[in-house]
Amino acid sequence: MYKKLRPMDLFLRGLIWLSAGVTILMTVGILAYILVRGVPSISWSFLTTAPSELTGTIGILPNIINTLYIVLITLLISTPIGIGAAIYLTEYGGKSKFVKIIEFTTETLAGIPSIIYGLFGFMFFVVFMGLQYSILAGGLTLSIMVLPTIIRTTQEALKSVNPLYREAALGIGATRVHMIRTVLLPSAMPGIITAIILSIGRIVGESAALIFTAGIGVKMLKLTPAGVFEHLETSGATLTVQLYQYAMRGEDLGVSFAIAAVLVIIVLLINFATKRLARRFRCG
């Protein structure tokens, strides 16, 4: 009954540790490399100016603004639609054929590579709708792209709302819409916010779909009422797209790494936020 050595066990255990080690070292390595090379190049003027050919300076403020713009447009469009669709799927659809079709198409949308969204967005929004390379075209394209994320995450959140709440509300005589508004959505809110944050992550990280739709402009936002809207019509590189531009040209790798560091920090924040929410979700 006493302990003995099992070589096969040890070997497999070793493989598992090795794989995990590779994954961890890689993650830490990538992170450290980017931060070490990037953070020193981040300066106040780097974050708060626009690049200029005339003076030869580089700044990423327009990219930050463009990123915010695209995040905002995308969410403004896709969040209400996504939540509405999720509500339909979980609360109204039942198991009908229509629901199956929608779920299948949502899966499909989720699986389409972003380059295809880029192609489609270019043909449909840029050329066909005449939006040209513009932040608006980029936002519209991404709205379709993040739709499945929002639908699915919201659906999960709605499904995980205690089914007893539904019965309880209906059992008292609440209408379905009332039940959704007063019980379902508040309970699902952390999940919905998670969906939104996940989408932000996706938008911030996107490049292929944006290069052909939102383009690579680096124009400063004009702080006039008209300018705020005009900005939608100009092309605009998000941070990620700009990173791609600089990296490919290799003119100043410090700039590429600085943007990469900014992006990594954003991703860290996003992950942190989702974690926090998920925790609240579980307790609530």
Binding site: N162, E167, A168, G171, I172, G173, A174, V183
Partner: protein, 251 residues
């Protein structure tokens, strides 16, 4: 004796599967009717047909009549939300909403159009008193209902149901999740409630049925085998199967 609810040759099918077979039952006003029977016999299903909670389930087919004070509740003209206001339900597992105690109780009245604060306050108090919970929670009405104990939550659910002043209160194993002390409190409560309400309760606990109910219906695989005065049912059941079940020979 007055009947408040009545089912006439009720058949219910989940898809192809018949869950209720020809149920004829008259529920007496201001009495407690207990539904007993082994698991899966259709007790919950029957209860749900009484306030149309089955409407939420797909592929349910219902035949026969369910009358509330003589009106057929499955009449297409019936407003389901009004029906459910009149026939309230308390579920097996306490299911308070994740909001404050006050809002839980006020939820129903608000739905049904009561907006005035003073009126709501009053309703919340009377309902909580009615559910024998007022003293325990009166100082924490604004606190989340999720912080209550299981027994308190269940009484809160009862208060919530009372707040819309139903005529009939359906309770599906309301004490199965509770400890003995909470159970006792809720049993006492039911007995009090019957002065103003009619109560139907599903229970697995024979002693409970015997203790609190006036009438008992025994269900078996979708059929109602016997329906009688509780005392009679437990002392001399007329059906062999009832006897077997009550004496614990199966189930």
């Amino acid at each position: 004796m007055e009947n408040i609810m009545e089912t006439k040759s009720l058949h219910l099918y989940y898809g192809d599967n018949q869950a209720l077979k020809n149920i004829n039952l008259q529920m007496r006003k201001n009495k407690i009717t207990a539904l007993i029977g082994p698991s899966g016999c259709g007790k919950s299903t029957y209860l749900k047909t009484l306030n149309r909670m089955n409407d939420l389930i797909e592929h349910v087919k219902i035949e026969g009549q369910v009358l509330l004070e003589g009106q057929d509740i499955y009449d297409p003209k019936v407003d389901v939300t009004m029906l459910r206001k009149r026939v309230g339900m308390v579920f097996q597992k306490p299911n308070p909403f994740p909001m404050s105690i006050y809002d839980n109780v006020a939820y129903g009245p608000r739905i049904h159009g009561i907006k005035k604060r003073s009126q709501l306050d009053e309703l919340v108090e009377t309902s909580l008193r009615g559910a024998a919970l007022w003293d325990e929670v009166k100082d924490r009405l604004k606190k989340s209902a999720m912080g209550l104990s299981g027994g308190q939550q269940q009484r809160l659910c009862i208060a919530r149901a009372l707040a819309v002043s139903p005529q009939v209160l359906l309770m599906d194993e309301p004490t199965s999740a509770l400890d003995p002390i909470s159970t006792m409190k809720i049993e006492d409560l039911m007995v009090e409630l019957k002065e103003k309400y009619t109560v139907a309760i599903v229970t697995h606990n024979m002693q409970q049925a015997a203790r609190i109910s006036d009438y008992t219906a025994f269900f078996l695989v979708g059929e109602m085998v016997e329906y009688a005065d509780t005392e009679k049912m437990f002392s001399m059941p007329s059906d062999k199967r009832t006897e077997d079940y009550i004496t614990g020979r199966f189930g």
